[in-house]
């Protein structure tokens, strides 16, 4: 992974100004959603085909207030359940070699191949892909491959990173970012943050978004131990080679799996198909 690109999110610097959230919409020309205030600053309420990233506002109080902000979007997992589960192979790992010789790896979905089965959404341990009936396909963060591989120097970084004023986000070679994250965690520990840790280095064999956290991942509404559901492995072994056969049964199994694992954030909301 030496010359592979990644994004580092140093949450200790994030002020939740959400410039990244707007920049993402602007660069990708995604339209706004009609939202309502549900009793929080957090909005839109879920990721969707037109909201590819959002900031989560996590409040924790135990005599001392902690307000933790999480940049949430497709993590571009190395071990990506969505890729494994996709019947028409619309969702795949993409590798683009950049001008500097490094490689931008991301998970992409080809809307021409997508059949709208939504298996990826159910399988994703992060609840990410957003389906649009109108746009015929699932949509997510692209790691701004179009910017990164085309733009002039200085702009050849993802839109969210470009606008990040406090320096929360950095884009670069994964090994360098990892060193930076390790140094940061060591410093945070020395300042008394005993739960300081890196998230995304080992999870699912490496996420292309890595985080510096000062509390356990769950405090940031990140799964402590994201996994490709066992049923996806089963699906891969049994059903996928034979197309859509037995698909219904597998999806049912996945849903049961999800309910059991208790990760149901926003799922009901998400499952309302967008038009």
């Amino acid at each position: 992974m030496a010359n592979e690109k990644a994004i580092l999110v140093d949450t200790t610097k994030c002020t939740a100004c959400r410039a990244c959230q707007v920049a993402c919409k602007q660069w990708n020309q995604n339209s706004a959603e009609k939202t309502v205030n549900m009793g929080s600053y957090e909005n839109p309420p879920t990721l969707s085909s037109k909201t590819w990233m959002r900031i989560l506002f996590n409040e924790h109080y135990n005599g001392q207030m902690q307000w933790l902000f999480t940049k949430y979007q497709c993590m571009h997992c190395t071990d990506a359940a969505c890729v494994e589960v996709c019947p028409p192979n619309a969702t795949t790992h993409q590798e683009v070699t950049l001008k500097d010789g490094s490689v931008l790896k991301s998970v992409v979905t080809d809307p021409k191949k997508c059949v709208g089965c939504n298996y990826c959404r159910v399988a994703c341990p992060f609840d990410v892909p957003g389906y649009s009936q109108k746009k015929r396909g699932v949509y997510r963060c692209t790691m701004c491959v179009d910017r990164v591989s085309n733009a002039e120097p200085g702009f050849d970084i993802p839109a969210c990173v470009k606008v990040c004023a406090p320096g929360t986000l950095s884009f670069g070679n994964r090994d360098e970012l990892l060193l930076k994250a390790q140094a940061r965690v060591a410093k945070l520990k020395s300042e008394g943050h005993k739960d300081a840790q890196i998230y995304g280095n080992t999870q699912l064999k490496g996420l292309r978004y890595m985080y510096v956290l000062t509390a356990p991942p769950a405090s940031y509404d990140l799964p402590n131990d994201p996994k490709v559901p066992a049923s996806v492995e089963l699906w891969k072994l049994l059903a996928k080679p034979y197309g859509g056969l037995a698909a219904l049964g597998i999806v049912a199994a996945l849903i049961v799996n999800r309910v059991i694992s208790g990760r149901n954030r926003g799922l009901e909301e998400k499952n309302k198909l967008e038009t």
Binding site: T15, C17, V22, N43, E59, M65
Partner: protein, 841 residues
């Protein structure tokens, strides 16, 4: 801001009080984060706020405080610093007037809450009571040499130092706990962390915004902290100062250009019809008030300003046109609140609104809308349709009964023309045009020019028009399409005869030979001969200067060199900063009496034994330009006059002569609407606060059980001001779609309100519908043993736009609840502390 935005990265401690920098100044906060994450000796961020904000989320220390009690808190910090010997005595003894003796007739009586000189008079005509201080006793004891008498030992009880210690002896950690609701231990944690910046070479900065200014004693809030900064030696040094974070990208520019009712450009006072009948009287009054300060050059500034106003018509025989200029009437208030009171009273019949939305942003906005109902006409120039020109169809109004004629002028947005922004750190930066204005929209200056031309035509045709010459004699070289670069040149100033642009304000003359629209901007647009660096003996530097001139044409606001010359966050080649590209004002204080920086790492100016070596433009006379060869001036001279804009040249703890109308030392009073009786002294509110008395100017009484909750109005990152721009921007609107009120879980439980449910926030004046954001970020405070609820609303929402504040037909402007009470000195509205109740909608 005394320093620069970038300079924040030089700081060791941030006191963020009355500001929510991370949310409302996100780019400023970037520089704060650089200091917080510095490898060596990272800075400490202290946030004192009624709410745990996004700024607080990054704080090392957070203290929740009761709105409107900052003087108690800051006063206790003064006491703490002095008691614990956390005083930069080298600074305080040499650069402030603590050893000066004050008139023995000066006094403050905690029983009455009044300073000496309090006067109550009754107008025999109207029977109205008028309260005012006679500041005669707020004065120094003067010696025969015309200078204040001093006691350098500071032992004399009449020294400023001893009087200050006595005044703030009542301001203790116990008082903070009782009045602010900040536990004593928390106060001491804050005090220890911040006051440690008294050490040589350490610096701390106060970041404040509307949270300190929007109180009936807002100016005194800031003065209190300025006093602490003088005690700690935090003024004029890198990473120090008083950082007023301005509310808009160009609000610094608006005050620089005299948009306030009491100021001309460059902070010269507007003439008063009774006190300044002639230009000579104006100048003499000013010279008497400013004493030894650099302001003694006022006659040059004013003559040049008038020359820029009236051009060839400005002649010595008509006092350069002074005879024509409009004056303010003595004792009349012309600020926002007063204007709307005058409209409501029916004495003001027309209103011109440019880039403002008082129907949402004005205090007691129901009253402001009712005042608009009484107008004959209103003109609104805006980039979007807003609530103000639609006031006649606000929820609850009867359009048929409102006769005001409304005209709307579509304005171009910045980016549809080019011009300058003057940022919070006084940096004047050029912005460029990116696209054409849509439809009939025109830039503000073009609109203004069209109106001016029509006015001249009408005034010329009417020989009897009042103040006719003031209009028809104006120097107005601008056409239908105004070049703002030409306007900038006029602000910079030029020789009237040759039209050659001036070097800076040091060459202004009082004889009408120079024209200068704004003396503080003089130097922003020099001629090639005066362009920085063009006479440099180093050929490389000279070539670079000439290349820069070729790019900018002399307009220094266009410069983009981001080199940090002395590694102290000073960027002299980035745009231009007033005055004279000086990045940190009072920078003589960055060095000790001998002219040596307090520490080498924070070097702005330095005496090398024979001359000054400068990173920043010195804020003192460092060479004597009156002598041939301009020899260097040794440090002792400037050490005796480090605050060149103040009379007597020293930092003020005590404001003499009525410079502050409400007292020479800041004293705590309660917000005009308060749950509590003033525990610091016998006056509930500032003795000189103005309360208006129309039937819509209602105020809840102290501790009114019908309005038991303290409320403040603020902003969020996602929206700007009255929401005119941001509520019409779908990507921003989707993030903060509704009017909301933040409240504690405890309060929500008692009110039976669930998170995300609609509630109505009611004050004695009006009510507003909001989504309840129930959160741990606001806790019930314990004030004087009493559980005290605090809530907070944004003010961005209304009833017009892509998003309003909620479902149609209802009220969503937070200011429908706020009072039109103003600061005693500035009339800035008291948006930040008033009383409400909350019910389920």
């Amino acid at each position: 801001m005394t320093n620069q935005v970038q300079d924040l990265k030089m700081s060791d401690a941030f006191m963020v009080c009355g500001s929510n920098a991370a949310e409302n100044h996100p780019i400023t906060f970037k520089w704060i984060e650089q200091a917080l994450h510095r490898e060596k000796d990272p800075a400490t961020l202290i946030v004192v706020d009624p709410r745990f904000t996004r700024t607080a989320s990054k704080a090392n220390i957070y203290a929740q405080t009761r709105p409107g009690t900052d003087i108690v808190f800051f006063g206790a910090l003064i006491t703490y610093a002095i008691k614990n010997n956390m005083v930069n005595f080298d600074f305080e003894n040499n650069y402030t007037h603590t050893s000066s003796l004050i008139d023995p007739k000066y006094s403050f009586d905690p029983k009455t809450g009044q300073f000496s000189g309090f006067k109550e008079t009754v107008d025999p005509k109207t029977g109205q009571k008028k309260v005012k201080y006679d500041a005669a006793t707020w004065a120094f004891q003067m010696g025969p040499d015309g200078k204040p008498l001093k006691d350098p030992t500071l032992q004399n009880p009449q020294t400023v130092w001893q009087l200050m210690i006595k005044h703030y002896s009542r301001y203790t950690p116990e008082a903070v706990e009782k009045i602010c609701g900040i536990p004593k231990a928390k106060f001491e944690e804050v005090a220890k962390a911040y006051c440690s910046t008294y050490q040589r070479g350490k610096s701390g900065v106060l970041l404040y915004a509307m949270g300190l200014t929007q109180h009936s004693y807002g100016s005194q809030n800031i003065r209190t902290f300025a006093m602490l900064q003088l005690i700690l030696g935090n003024v004029g040094v890198p990473g120090g100062g008083i950082a007023a974070l301005r509310g808009c990208a160009n609000v610094q520019g608006s005050t620089d250009q005299g948009l306030l009712s009491h100021l001309w450009t460059g902070y010269n006072p507007v003439p008063n019809s009774a006190k300044n009948p002639t230009l000579d009287a104006y100048n003499q009054a000013r010279l008497k008030a400013v004493g030894t300060a650099y302001w003694s050059n006022t006659p040059k500034f004013i003559a040049s300003y008038l020359k820029a106003q009236y051009g060839d018509f400005a002649k010595p025989e008509n006092q350069f046109g002074y005879v024509w200029v409009p004056r303010v009437k003595d004792g009349v208030n012309y600020t926002h609140i007063a204007l709307f009171e005058a409209m409501y009273a029916g004495t003001l019949k027309g209103l011109f609104v440019i880039g403002q939305n008082p129907a949402v942003g004005g205090p007691n906005s129901d009253m402001e809308c009712a005042a608009m109902d009484k107008l004959d006409w209103m003109v609104v120039s805006e980039i979007f349709d807003t609530e103000t020109p639609n006031f006649w169809r606000r929820p609850g109004a009867n359009p048929g009964a409102i006769k005001t004629e409304v005209f709307q002028l579509p304005a171009a947005a910045n980016g549809e023309y080019e011009g300058t922004f003057s940022n919070t750190g006084r940096v004047v930066q050029w912005f460029y045009k990116t696209s054409e204005p849509k439809g009939d929209a025109r830039p503000d200056a073009d609109i203004m020019s069209a109106i001016q031309k029509k006015l001249v035509e009408l005034y010329k045709a009417d020989a009897q028009a009042p103040l006719r010459e003031a209009v028809i004699n104006l120097y107005w070289p601008y056409g239908d399409k105004v070049s703002l670069e030409e306007v900038l040149a006029e602000m910079n100033g030029f020789n009237w005869a040759t039209k050659k642009r001036l070097k800076n304000f040091t060459v202004l003359a009082a004889d009408g030979s120079t024209a200068c629209g704004n003396w503080v901007y003089s130097g922003v647009y020099p001629d090639q001969a005066d362009y920085p660096g063009v006479t440099d003996p180093d050929p490389a530097k000279k070539a670079a200067a000439l290349a820069s001139f070729a790019k900018t044409g002399g307009n220094l606001a266009k410069r983009t060199n981001n080199e940090d010359k002395g590694n102290v966050a000073i960027y002299p080649g980035w745009a231009w900063c007033w005055p004279v590209n000086r990045r940190i004002v009072y920078n003589r204080c960055s060095a000790d009496v001998a002219g040596q920086p307090w520490v080498p790492e924070k070097n702005l100016v330095k005496w090398d034994g024979t001359k000054w070596v400068n990173v920043d433009v010195p804020d003192f006379a460092y060479v004597d330009a009156t002598k041939p060869g301009s020899p260097p001036v040794p440090p002792a001279v400037s050490a005796a006059n480090p605050f060149i804009m103040l009379n007597l040249g020293m930092g003020w703890f005590f404001a003499p002569g009525g410079g502050m109308v409400d007292g020479p030392f800041p004293e705590h009073y309660e917000p005009v609407e308060s749950k509590f009786t003033n525990a610091m002294n016998g006056s509930q509110n500032s003795p000189v606060v103005k309360k208006w008395n129309s039937e819509m100017d209602k105020l809840a009484s102290v501790g009114d059980p019908k309005y038991p909750i303290i409320c403040g109005i603020s902003r969020v990152t996602e929206h700007f001001q009255s929401g005119t721009m941001t509520r019409n921007m779908p990507w921003l609107a989707e993030m903060q779609p509704n009017m909301f009120v933040e409240m504690s879980k405890d309060l929500a439980k008692r009110k039976g309100v669930g998170n995300g449910e609609w509630v109505t926030v009611k004050s004695i004046r009006g009510q507003v519908n909001c989504v309840a954001v129930v959160t741990d970020r606001i806790q019930v405070l314990t004030v004087d043993g009493t559980p005290t609820d605090v809530v907070n609303m944004p003010y961005h929402y209304g009833f017009i736009g892509y998003i309003t504040g909620g479902p149609g037909g209802k009220n969503y402007a937070g200011n429908q609840t706020s009072p039109n009470i103003g600061d005693c000195n500035t009339t800035t509205p008291e948006y930040k502390a008033f009383l409400v109740d909350i019910v389920k909608a």
